[in-house]
Symmetry: D2
Subunit: 425 residues, 4 copies
């Protein structure tokens, strides 16, 4: 398991963190009705109750079964709640996750409680190092699903003509960030994870990369910038777009980011997790696809950063990012309500929106996935997708480090995805 | 409204019947969780909570709004819960009914209670005859949705690998029905509704039809008959099928009725509203499409009855059918639990399964739909569908009369649809 | 074969007619390039060279093979040129007919010549009566394909932005037909074929039908009538349409008949087999679907005729129609060029455009398809389609009799289909 | 235009080369009938006559129009034969290219002759350097279409159950290539075009890249290797595949390379441009997708090469590749017939099959597309595709240089695509 984790904290810490992460998932689901937790609005989206069960299944299948002689809570759940692990058997088709009315949310809560109890006993006994690493992966896995859960809930609620809010909050308007560029001289730089603590296998091996001189924007592209792009006909000018992107613009009839809608008076409003509100020109633009980010950058006379460029600058600007994440961040959807921490704005390297890069998602030199079914975690997605860096307001603490590689298809808009510009120097 | 109803009972009766029908809908929904009531497994299926809201919207829109000066409970509901009435404005797309997590089942219950209260006040005051006829239509409309609700719930629960039951019951096995044929000399016969009480517009005008001599099967085609058809290769022999039917068999990979599945030991089981159980050869076959019914009849050296043939025989065999429905009937899915009446078997004219006819659904000579939006009730579906006669175990009392014309596309299998054979004499 | 033909002429006549029909097919293909004869613009359309080969395969497979010990010209052709006869083996998928670049048009010509020569020898020897009936069917089958060939060529050429003409002609403008209604008292009438000579199995058995009093329009609905329907918003008013029709209008964005296009000055032009030209308000409207015909009739305060109504009036107005077809007819696309006879206008019962009826295509009482593969000719299409009566300018002589039942899906617009109104009396 | 070409030969050379390339296209089309040249078997495929017209349109639109005051041969052709240049106006939809029966092949020949004549006059007068560069681009563009034409013809003919041959030849069996690995120490290497003569914009700018030590296979993966992969269950083992690749394997039911089919005796045959024949284990495998190449490499315990790795080794092994292409190459489909040069086998760097790399197609650092419509040539495809290197038996001379970057979607199989393995050292 060395490709997945480098070190693990003391067993007592693990037990506490396990408990905290599990309980935070439940707090995210708490504002949602049984109906809210069941529906699937597109194949990419999974129901909340599925996220709750799948993260539980992960611990049951990879930890409790093989290492604690645990009998499955319900033998059918292995089929229902396996996401994509071909190595552990057949599974319910992803686009049909929203057809499952049973088990209901109460049964899912029982399932979680039973597995939590068994895990707590197991953790109290002090697992072996390799199993502890697996549990660490499970914790990080569940944190990723916490973010997916919020992405998916936003999509589900936004599909409802009633435009309901997930939570009610009233956060202060974000401060205007600094303008300008941050120069970097290029050269041979080291990229990839090399710290203590947990990282995903796709963040390594750490290796050298050769960069030409470049500069990155000191701030994220804002909603105000995007309004200028729209007003300048950006969505109607094919010369700005990749061929596949232009095809998507026409097929999907895009004319603004996802969740934006034009009001009768011509102004733009957006649907957020706290309900609908007017677009704030100062906030970072979010819910744009890679195609849109790339076209915007071309329109602006710039380009998207390579992921190595992003990483070296982010590491130098916010050294803490490679270790612990800063507690303060940037709020986009006003997500203080369910427990996520609003953050101050600053340079917004991590914590406001994920930032599309120019880099296709591919293995680092020398990459080897972990053996066994957990090796399917990252490696098998390394084609057709683009890397995002940074982290969003919905990203759990500890996942916003400079080496973290998020990835989505270039047409995806339901992640909390924005961008930062780059130029050659 | 003369095309819809011929006469209406006393206001007091109407008030009581309104209350009973409304309350029966709620009793049908009672065994279902919030999740069960929300999901849509195919575009034809509507969620239970949608049925509950839509039937309420019908009274609010066509009765309370225009005739009682009623303000809508929620202005958005007109958009969400209109089914297909183009005349009263835009509506939420049918295939997206399952995306609505809000309003939740509690809000739907409040909506129903509010409309019921307003209707009760309105009925207490004694509505004009034409409004009473409209309410009568609304009652019958809601009864139709009671049957649709059960069809849809069956489909939703059957899509779940856990194979849950809607209700738990243990009904006695049905008695073997009589064999043989019922001859009719043909000639000019009268068809269409001509009684007192309510009927739908598509059941009239009553008119004469000319029939050649024929005979109808004394009983429904049974599951045992169907097993013989399967075993004889009926699903693999194109010569038995309509061209469109054969294309559907291949595209959908049909090899048995809907809800049948082959067990490891080669036997057939069926999923019912009371859960899975073995096929009983004596029970009527159900959940077959018109394509299958037509192919079966050809295989059996017979044909499907014309709807006029069915009607004249049914009327002569069970005179009560043209007025009140017999209380006793035939149970297919064991539906005593939620309140539907199990019935004895007899000739099974009405009450066991709907019976496909050879007749395309078309207007009777002189048919005129009602003016206004309620005129969209039946007439606009009079192409591409086939008529079914009789009524099923899930059909509400009062809807199993000999003139009642049910209709579905020839490829539909989720109705409680079976068949009876006919031959020329 | 008694269900297919009632009598056959002398062998010498058959030999001559065989030769004439075969040679007329070749004259229809003559104006077309190899490319024109190869392309398939939608699954319903077949390439010209496929029609030429398939009609040849019919004689080879059903006559020469079983009755003359003939070896196939090319064993692969049985797979390529079988249309839908499940009984004689597997076949090339219909939507892929346009992918066949080989055999080329020269090889198809050789195939036709070889089969024609073998047939001529066979006919010279004087076939048995039952084989002669089969040949008669083949001749009529080829005549049907002559019409299909022209329908399909029109679609292929109209898909080309260059808007090429099939033939160049300049026909005189059609005369204005008589206005008014033709009354009929109803009663028991006889319908179905009962003459000498050939008829298709679906035209019988002749039987009695019961009609209420009605009237039919003395003329076809004209393009001028249709312009009024368009101008009155007919394509935007859902209340005029069947539900399935309205769905099609929206999905296909229909706003006029097929082949009509709006010019920059607001006028309408149509693409015809003789190239593009302005719409002539006096000509019959053509290339409308049943959905459009039905909506138009509703808009006009009328309805479509039942097929029995059409047949009894047509028989009484043009007695010759039940035997030989009138030589003079009505030109729509100016089709004198390739050999089809332009016709004078009169009441336009047969020969101008096919006329949609209100009748779903279903078997007549007592209908039995012929045994063997040719029994697949008509019967297996008797669901989901609507009957058309009359015949079009592209319909071969001899196919425009009052009992002839043409049929297409209600959304089809590439047939030469128009309509005549009916009303109750 | 400096991003497209670095230098251009003398005008006299250009005139001769223009003539040669144009005439070679016609010789490629010569064996094909009008039908063969018209059909489109999938959206990726273009008809031969479209390739002939489109390459002509390129010279007419980008050279003769703006620089020689040339009037279009036919104004409609600008719409019909524009491929994807948004900058020069609307165009006929790609998936409908196969619907065009007109202009016919004779008109296309006239079009080509007219443009050739005008170009010859223009070239005789000696164009300015920037226009000469544009013509050079047009020549290279047409050469690319020569390869596409053969790819597309192969697909069209293979769709025909008759399995026709494009040309008849009988080439000697290829010699067995050397086994083993070619080591490279890694380090900073220069990649990208830096020679005299023409190159495409995507081959530059030349820049440095940093490589870890690695080795490349001395030979291409062979059909024999692939048979072992098939026999070992490679197409049934999800652990070998990218997630998107496995989805494609299941959806498309892949179980061998494109054009392979299993004979009744269990052996494999392949359809080639010279007709069907048995698979030769010694020949390079061809017509595999990137998904298959990637899965094969994983199965073999290796990986695909990065494009920089491929380029530095190819340059060192066959120095001539960076300038002129070797005359001798490797035959896969036996393509001596139409004029392409069969080649000896050797290490097969260029000339046998295109070789998939691990590299997603992305811009080199500092890449800028050319201004104007020709800037759409390469840059707008730089997402979602993978780079191939080398060149195939159907690749025109001069296009098989070490810096040439070909690109296709990872699921494409109709290119002449194979692979070479790589490993870390």
């Amino acid at each position: 398991m060395t490709t997945v984790t480098r070190s693990v904290g003391a067993p007592a810490d693990l037990r506490t963190r396990f408990r905290d992460v599990r309980s935070f998932t439940e707090s995210l689901a708490a504002p949602l009705s049984a109906e809210d937790q069941t529906v699937q609005t597109m194949p990419d989206v999974s129901p909340t109750k599925w996220h709750r069960a799948h993260t539980t299944w992960f611990f049951e299948t990879f930890v409790l079964g093989p290492h604690a002689g645990h009998e499955p809570f319900d033998p059918a759940y292995g089929y229902l709640f396996n996401s994509y692990y071909e190595g552990v058997g057949p599974r319910h088709a992803r686009p049909q996750r929203g057809l499952l009315t049973r088990p209901g949310i109460a049964e899912i809560a029982s399932y979680r409680a039973a597995v939590d109890e068994a895990m707590d006993d197991f953790l109290a006994a002090g697992p072996e190092v390799d199993v502890a690493e697996l549990i660490e992966l499970g914790i990080n896995h569940e944190q990723q699903h916490q973010e997916l859960l919020l992405m998916d809930v936003k999509h589900v609620l936004a599909a409802n003509p009633l435009r309901p809010a997930y939570v009610e909050t009233d956060l202060p308007r974000v401060a205007d960030p600094a303008e300008g560029w941050i120069d970097h001289p290029g050269g041979v730089v080291a990229v990839g994870y090399d710290g203590g603590g947990f990282s995903f296998d796709n963040e390594g091996p750490r290796h050298e990369a050769l960069l030409a001189p470049f500069a990155l924007g000191a701030r994220l592209v804002s909603a105000g910038d995007w309004l200028a792009f729209i007003d300048d006909g950006g969505y109607r000018e094919p010369a700005l777009w990749m061929s596949d992107g232009w095809g998507t613009v026409q097929a999907e009839e895009w004319e603004a980011p996802l969740y934006w809608s034009r009001e009768d008076d011509g102004s733009w409003s957006i649907q957020t997790l706290t309900g609908p509100r007017p677009v704030d020109p100062a906030e970072p633009v979010v819910h744009v696809s890679w195609y849109e980010a790339d076209a915007f950058a071309r329109w602006a006379g710039a380009r998207l950063p390579a992921e190595a460029e992003w990483e070296v600058v982010a590491t130098s600007r916010e050294p803490a990012l490679s270790g612990e994440r800063t507690a303060a961040g940037l709020s986009v959807d006003g997500l203080a309500g369910p427990g996520l921490h609003p953050r101050s704005c600053g340079e917004q390297w991590c914590g406001g929106v994920w930032q599309w890069t120019a880099s296709p998602y591919a293995p680092y030199p020398g990459f080897q996935p972990a053996p066994g079914a957990v090796g399917e975690y990252n490696g098998k997605f390394m084609v057709n997708q683009q890397v995002l860096r940074g982290g969003a307001c919905v990203t759990p603490a500890g996942h916003t480090r400079a080496t973290y590689r998020n990835f989505f298809y270039p047409g995806s808009r339901w992640p909390f995805s924005g961008l930062r510009l780059a130029v050659d120097r």
